[in-house]
Structure formats: C-alpha cells, structure tokens
Symmetry: C2
Subunit: 343 residues, 2 copies
C-alpha cells in the first residue's frame, strides 16, 4: 500500500473530498486547523507520500542543485564537486552533475536538461560559449534560477563567481622558473577566450617583464589539456632556434606530456630544462620525477561556491547579490623545477 | 520574444482559445487537421517552445537518463560515463550524473533525486546496499523505470547488467605474478559484499590452487581504494613472517600506495617484490616504474550499458528483457611485475 496511497484514499477514509485533502496537505488557510491536523495524521498513518515533483511544482523548490563542468575526469573538478556536496548536503540539497566535454552545444543542452529537471540553482564552470549563445545563460538569470560560476567564468551582470587569482598563479610559477635560472621560458596556454588561460598567460608575461627577460611570442602555444598535446608542443619547441629551457604549462596534463617527451629525447630535468604545471593533479606528486604545480584549492572553491549559492537562495530581500570571490593560488615546488634540491 | 511566447499569444494571433491551441499542440484528435497545422505553423513562426517538463509529464518522457557511480574522480567511472554519453547522445538522451562517495544513504538519496528529476532510466554502479534498503532499488523496477547495473551489480530479478569477468581478471593477474616467480602473493581486496571484489578474490585463490601454491588467509586484506590504504597494507604485510613477495591489488590506487611504501623501505620492485593492480587507471602507465594492471574496457562497458538501456526503453513488447553482458578483462603487464624485462 505504501507507494500507492493517494489523496483519494485519504479522502475516502475520512469521508471528505479529495480537494479538501489536497488543500489541507498544502496548508491552504481555508482549511480549519482541526481538519488539517486530521488529514496530516491520517496521511501519516496510511503512509502517504506526497509526490516530490508535484510538490516542487507548487513550492518551486526541488532541493536539487545542478553542477556543470567541462569534464569530470580531472581531479580538480571532481574535488570542487566534493566541496560543493559537502556544503550543500547538510542543507538538504542534492547535487546532480553534467559534463560538457568542452563542447558548447552540450553545455547548452546541459543547461536545458537541468532547468527541466527543476533544479533550484546551477553552479557552473563554463566551456567556451560564443556570444551568439550567451542568451542561453542569460535565460537562467532571467528565470531567477540562482547561477554561480566557479573557476571558468564569463563576465555577466548579476552573476556571482568564485575563482582563484590565475594571474598571480602564472606569475609565481614563472618567477620560480626564472629563479631556477631558466632564461627562455615557453608557455603552454589554453583557449584564450576563457579568462583563466588569459590570466595565467598575463601572469607569465608580467613575470618575464619584471625580471627583464624578453617575451618571445614563438614560445607561447595554445594546447589542449592532455598528455599528447604536451608531447607535440615539446616537439615543436625543440625545433626552435634557440629552443626554450623551461616550460610553464597551464595544464598539468600537458606538463606531464612535455616531461615524457623531453625525457625520451634525453633532455635532463631539471638540470637542462625545468617544467611547471597548473592544477596540482594528484599524479604530479606521485611521479618519481614529481611535477611542480599551482594548487587551486578546489575543495575550498567548491565550498565557497556552495556558500554563495546558499546566500542567494536564502536571500529573501529583493536585492540581487553579486559576489566575486577570489582565492589565492599556492605553489607546490617539486623536482621538475628544483635545481637546488637535486644538484 | 523568443523565450516568452505562450499558448495565449498563439491563441490571440489566431483568434481561437488557448485550450484549442493546447489541444492542437498535443495532437488531440478532437482538433481538425486544418486547425492543428495552422497552430503548429504559427507556433513555429512565433518561435514558441513547449515547456519540456510539461511535455514530459504528458508523454512520460524527459529524455534524461540518470547515472549513479560511487565516485567520479576515477578514470574508470569517468570513462564508462563517456561511453554512455557517446551512445545515448545521438539518440537524443541527456545524461545527468550523481555520485555516492560509497555512502549507502547518498545512494538512496541519489535514486530519489533522479526519479524526481523524471529520468527515463537509471544506469548505476552500486555502492554497498544493505538488504534493508533493497526496496529502494526494487522501487525503481516496480515503477517500470529501466534500471541497468554496470560493473558493480546486485543480484536482482529483471535487472540487466554489464560487467567484466572479474574472476578471470583476478586469475590472470595472479597467474602473471606466479609466472614471475612470486611464491607468497598477498591480495588487497575490497568490500566483500560487492561481487566484483568477491570475484577478483576468487580468481586470486583459483590461480594459487591451480599452481599448487598454498593459500594463506593472513595475506588477504580488505582495503579502501586509495593510496594510503595501500601504504598501510604494506606496513602490515611486511611485519608478517614470512612476508609476501608479491601483491595482487583489486585497486590501482592501493597498488600505487603499496609501491610507494615498498620503495621507501628500500624493497626493489620487481626484483624482490612484484605488484599487480586492477583498473588500468592512466597513472599506472605514466609512472616511471609503470604498474601492471587489469583493463576493464570502461568505454565499451559504458556503450554496452547504454545499448541495453536503449533496447529496454524501445521495447514495445510487454516481455521483460534481462540481459547479462560480461566483457573480457585484458592484462597490461608493465614494469612492476616484469622481472624478465628489467633484469
């Protein structure tokens, strides 16, 4: 009987109309307190369960929160999601996840999928979205569904974001390479329409400038965040004259590929060539030749993102909150850029 | 205007009632073919978009499919999900993901969350579910929501599953260690209530038996699938007398921890001690001391799981299909268990 008790069963048991039962269950003020109590008690006794979807249509709350990430198979995004879940679960929210695989069309589909699943908010790290599809994201804002960007954001009025200081991260990583004696530092960057890659690139260039090193545009490559891309980049970089003697990579995966290729070509790391990654993926410290990397505090980023969401959804004022939280990056200097330690 | 055209706008434009528009859009047979065509054309011209949730309530289809995994931050599960998406997306289905963090309560919440998000099916790899909560999974079956298990399954009537032959995987990995000359092979296993770990354990024991090696229960430890657990296991194993000279680990993460601990203690791998993992996580081949592992064909597993789902949802017969697909494991023998190659 459990799953099938309906308001009609309750109505029959109490010899009242189903409409009255429905009103009582939904706290309609037209129903007397006595009747309401009777209906609630009977419903409990008969193990009646309100349909949560129907409830959500009425209350406008599903208690589900959607998270959109470019990919789930990166420790960074998985850790942000863990942080989000840790913060939201005690508040009664459930997290459902969609990945875009860096595909703009999928991102648009994901937004529509989550809206149709009646989520109470969307927390997203964007893949590239061309301006012609901006209205899809704007639509979320217009529907008053709380939207918060983390890590990869777009400039958008009224949308809060939680990021790290990518410029500072790029600056510090490049500074480390310079301090290790690298004179010709290459940079593997990502899609420049994403602020994170643009800012890491700016930090890289600022560090060169501050140290009086020349900036050579031939040393800057846009690569995908994977091992093969890092290998290919080294292939091209070593054919330059003069070749670089260090790499700051915006991606740990590309940094790993670069190291593999350098080793296969007999280039000694860190003696002849230093490498610095970004993201602090677990493998960077597991490797025998551990990889220096910039940590992005993903758990903290997830928790902050969730907190900003909770502030918005619990905000009963009509004032819109727009928060920009910027976390500080942290260097993890390891063997791939530590000449002092290994000499 | 795009996002806001309603049936009332269409009704006004055509000077008919909104009810007629609604009936026409929903192919109600009471509406003449002429009117229906006119309404559809006008709706298209005015860029009217039907509310997908309302549609799904009518048609009973949301085109969303829920996937539940123990964790997203493992390459194995991420790859299975990629396989599922590759197969489902061309069929118009969108995938939403929930993770349990191996927590039974979260798994129950995830099922409820997905059902309330009106998914058309649930594809899941279970975390442990005690019998007292079996009814939550049974409830999915009873609601006629297609349910398919992958990798980690429960025995359940009417539920299809896609798994690999874990017993064979455990058998082959252990055989490899025996062929390398290991005489005292330990086994790091997982939660024995999950068939996958039970079967890998059985394969391990069968290989010992077939090779005439004694089975020593002191050499079998249940560990969590993480690096620290592997380290701690080695700590305990090396205190035994005699200590083992090889480990078959049901988890690549625990295998990695075991190797780290062995190296720190000065044990030479593979000369004095061989290690074999399970899962073929990417880091196993990235390491300088690459780790032997059993590949589980996750992409193929995801695709097969999606295909079984599509068969079920497109099955218009009243006959229930129950499919058990079993994929073959594949060994990747690397340095951690290759005495011949490295001597």
């Amino acid at each position: 009987m459990d799953q099938k008790t309906t308001i009609y069963d309750i109505a029959k048991a109490l010899d009242i109309t189903a409409a009255t039962v429905s009103r009582a269950l939904n706290n309609n003020p037209k129903i007397s307190e006595v009747t309401r109590k009777l209906v609630l008690e009977t419903a409990a006794k008969m193990n009646y369960k309100q349909n949560r979807l129907a409830q959500s249509l009425r209350s406008g709350k599903s208690n589900n929160v959607g998270v959109i990430v470019p990919r789930i198979d990166s420790n960074f995004f998985a850790s942000v999601i863990r942080g989000i879940e840790e913060e939201l679960r005690p508040e009664g929210y459930h997290v459902i996840i969609c990945q875009t695989n860096e595909d703009e069309m999928r991102q648009i589909e994901n937004i529509s999928t989550l809206l149709n699943a009646q989520v109470d908010g969307i927390l997203m790290s964007i893949s590239n979205v061309s301006e012609e599809n901006d209205h899809v994201i704007q639509n979320v804002v217009d529907k008053n569904v709380p939207l918060i960007f983390f890590d990869r954001k777009k400039k958008m009025d009224g949308v809060s974001s939680v990021t790290i200081n990518d410029l500072e991260g790029g600056y510090l990583a490049t500074k480390n390479l310079i301090e290790q004696g690298c004179k010709r530092i290459a940079h593997l960057t990502g899609d420049q329409s994403l602020e994170i890659y643009d800012n890491r690139n700016k930090g890289y260039q600022k560090a060169l400038l501050d140290s009086g090193l020349p900036f050579n545009p031939d040393y800057v490559f846009q690569v995908k965040s994977n091992v093969d891309a890092g290998r290919q980049a080294v292939d091209r970089l070593l054919s330059l004259n003069p070749p670089p003697d260090g790499i700051f990579s915006s991606s740990d995966f590309a940094a790993l590929g670069a190291i593999q290729e350098l080793k296969e070509r007999g280039v000694r790391i860190p003696e002849e060539f230093c490498v610095f990654g970004f993201g602090n993926e677990p493998f960077t410290r597991f490797m025998e030749l551990s990889i220096s990397s910039v940590d992005q505090s993903p758990l903290e980023m997830g928790r902050m993102t969730a907190k900003v969401f909770l502030e918005q959804i619990n905000n009963t004022d009509k004032i819109k909150i727009e928060k920009k939280v910027v976390l500080n990056p942290e260097l993890h200097i390891r063997k791939s850029s530590s000449r002092n330690l290994s000499s």
